[in-house]
Amino acid sequence: MSAHPLRRWLAERVPIPMEELRKPLREELPVHLRGWAVWLGGTPLILFGIQVVTGILLTFYYRPDPVRAFESVRRITLAMRFGWLIRSLHQNAGQLMIIALFLHMIRVFVTRAYRRPRELTWVFGMALFLLTLGFGFTGYSLVYDSLSYWATTVGTNLLGDVPVVGHQLLWLLRGGPDVSPNTLARFYNFHIGVLPTLMVLAITAHLVLVRLHGVARLEGDRRHETYDFFPEHVLREAAIALVLLLGLVVYASARPPGLGVPADPTFTPPHIRPEWYFFPSYRWLKLVPMQVGIWTSAGFVGCMMFWPWVDAGLERLAPGRRLGTWLGSAGFAFTLALLVWEALS
């Protein structure tokens, strides 16, 4: 091999076995991933990448201090060059990420790719989902307009009703009994420090597991052909990334982000609502008594978290009846119904 002199120089000083490292890129993927399923796992990853880049740019001008937060968002939106674009990308890629995760979960659920030995891939996946919701909640509160301020107040209030540790949880999150300057500092820290760190760790674990197991073959799929991760799969992902960016930029130019009313702790606006992806739990908690709501929600999320084992248990209970698929679909339909209900009311 006639390596470039520069490459030889580098290989001598930094003796990384490049051939070894290239192996992961030679992964062979089952052909079904060529189809629609490829959209789903890679998409949240791309969107997360967009979030990291735009998020870093936003931190250059955002000020996590109740007196200046709203003003700094206004400055980003109206005065900074391309601030409106960066802010719009960050907002909308965040929304898309949640939709993409939802679709990815549905595909994994329907193809039952979470079953032994891939249970932990699912558990890390669920952790990623919850972390993403955490990003959404903390991020929304940073805007510090009237709606986001009150969504934060009401959202954190819920924690206070958690049995036994509720009070401590509330205090931990708010940094005091009320939503205060401490709260904003904490949410900012979670949003740009704690959550991203956990996210990167969990994504790494998730992808390492996916890679170690290889992507699951479809049940009953007799095809044995595979295709290469590189360049074919990477090209597809690149195309998806470009389509997403294109859509986000065009949308931002057509409808640049607006500004709400600055937060006023002494005035509660009439329609407080969380972001749409919290609609299901919001509607559910309004529907049933608080304690019932909290316990059932915890049970629901726990069930999702440990779904591979729940499903296996149901399978042992009634082999071949696919009880798990029915139960999971019912749960999903119920969640969707609550979301639509809240959206329409």
Partner: protein, 160 residues
């Protein structure tokens, strides 16, 4: 799809993205211009608080209803001698001294000259503000009106 076709798709999409970013650039330029104008207005107001107060008096008493925001005029006034429209207030500093202007506002313009002598009376006239505006408000309003100037391009053409 062959790998070559895929590469082509990726290349085309990249071009489209570049085009979208260029378009976003023009959106940004427009927003920057607006922001600059806004910032300048804020600066002006900070430097000349009396004029900012006067502008507020101007809208408080709805002068803008007939003379338009910023005193540019042009509201329809059928058969008025000033071209069928209420006149603008951009040239007051050329023909009035502050005391005269205040007097004009106090008295109003009860009859507006007809454009066509055989035509109908113009429906709008300038109401007297004698009982409404006085003291500091009048001084601020007059300062504001005296500060009005036609935009640079127009000044030259209307001078002739």
């Amino acid at each position: 799809m062959s790998v070559t076709a895929q590469k082509l798709v990726v290349a085309l999409l990249s071009l489209a993205l570049v085009a979208a970013l260029v378009a976003a650039g023009s959106v940004d330029a427009r927003r920057q211009a607006e922001a600059r104008k806004h910032a300048e207005a804020m600066l002006d107001d900070a430097a000349q608080p009396q004029i900012a107060r006067g502008r507020a008096v101007y809208t408080k008493y709805s002068c803008n209803a007939c003379h338009a925001a910023g005193g540019t005029g042009g509201i329809m006034n059928l058969n008025a001698e000033s071209g069928g429209k209420v006149n603008g207030l951009l040239h007051l500093s050329e023909s009035y001294r502050p005391a005269e202007l205040a007097e004009k506002i106090r008295n109003g313009v009860p009859t507006v000259g007809k454009g066509d002598p055989t035509g109908p009376d113009p429906p709008l006239h300038m109401p007297p503000y004698r009982d409404l505006i006085a003291g500091q408000e009048m001084r601020d309003l007059v300062a504001y009106l005296m500060s009005l100037r036609p935009p640079p391009g127009e000044a030259k053409s209307s001078a002739w």
